[in-house]
């Protein structure tokens, strides 16, 4: 017997993602899904951003890692609410993991929720988790060809943060080509060039964040 069906394979995940989104909206939280390959600087950028903005914005963090609580421990030093998810074998966060993590957070007290995804340039881009925006980091040490090799994440993200620009003199990474390749995959990308080490470019990132949080409140 042939059965005619058309079903999205990720429908179950997407349904829970919508439920998460509803909860976030209800509580007026702006939710950013932060993605990158391992070590591009997700946690470092969060530490910096939180230390500067925590007086002005109520921030919460969900940390996704395959193992360990190391990143959550780093974030908790900044004195904001943080929940660590250990995915075990999974290479990405999914909506159900987030759904369970939300229960441990006081969402009504959070205006800006960061979800640091598992370090991986492929899989996280495939799974909606209820975020308002996908933000990715590509760091100078990864080279300028990553948009072409891993197009999905560049395609799915609204914001691209190019980190570690302090290392440009030491790498054969062409910043101009990195931007061209990124825009070739997604011409709508909003690009920030930063260094978490020298703090270059961070001010415009902070201003953008504050503006987005304010817009979300309206």
């Amino acid at each position: 017997m042939k059965v005619e069906i058309i079903k999205d394979i990720l429908a179950a995940n997407d349904a829970i993602a919508e439920e998460n989104r509803r909860l976030f909206k209800e509580n007026g939280a702006l939710v950013l899904n932060l993605m990158s390959s391992p070590g591009a600087g997700k946690t470092t950028l969060l530490e910096k951003s939180i230390s500067v903005l925590k007086g002005r914005v109520n921030i919460g963090v969900i940390e996704g890692d395959i193992q360990t609580e190391l990143d959550a421990t780093r974030i908790s030093k900044e004195g904001v609410e943080v929940v660590q998810i250990n995915t075990g074998s999974a290479c990405h966060l999914d909506s159900n993991m987030i759904h369970q993590a939300i229960e441990k957070l006081d969402l009504s007290n959070i205006d800006l929720l960061f979800m640091e995804n598992v370090g991986n340039l492929v899989c996280p881009a495939e799974f909606r988790i209820g975020e308002d925006m996908k933000i990715m980091i590509s760091s100078i040490t990864e080279g300028d060809d990553k948009p072409l090799k891993y197009p999905l994440m560049f395609r799915e993200s609204q914001v691209l943060i190019i980190n570690k620009i302090d290392l440009l003199p030491y790498c054969d990474c062409d910043l101009k080509r990195l931007k061209e390749n990124s825009l070739k995959i997604n011409s709508n990308l909003n690009i920030f060039e930063i260094s978490c080490k020298t703090e270059s470019g961070l001010d415009s990132w902070y201003n953008w964040l504050v503006k987005k949080v304010e817009e979300n409140k309206k």
Partner: protein, 113 residues
């Protein structure tokens, strides 16, 4: 390696359909995967084979339709296939495009008894 998660999701959908239609053995399952997704077809087939061991879908054929990326230019309205990930209109060089296919991740048919 999220092909394993995808394979599991496909098996879940199969199981629902078997239940609804009162069937017990899967012969073939057809899916559609857009080229924009980050799914590796061979890896998915491998994961599917492993995950369906000792289930009603064991030994079934996973038929994959790999869908090209097609865009429509918002400026001059032409529809074209994106081959080399060049998201640029070949006619007007505009980059304001609507993706009309290539994002698929769907189960589109089931053959079972």
């Amino acid at each position: 390696m999220h092909e394993l998660t995808i394979a599991q999701s496909i098996l879940n959908i199969i199981n629902e359909e078997l239940l609804v239609n009162n069937l017990s053995k899967v012969i073939k399952i057809s899916i559609r995967i857009g080229r924009l997704t980050a799914i590796e077809p061979e890896s998915l087939k491998f994961c599917f084979e492993i995950i369906t061991k000792n289930t009603k879908a064991e030994g079934s054929v996973l038929e994959i339709d790999y869908v090209p990326i097609r865009c429509k230019c918002s400026n001059c309205q032409i529809v074209f296939t994106v081959d080399e990930l060049d998201f640029i209109c070949p006619k007007c060089m505009g980059s304001n495009l609507k993706i009309i296919s290539g994002n698929e991740l769907q189960v589109v048919g089931l053959e079972a008894e």
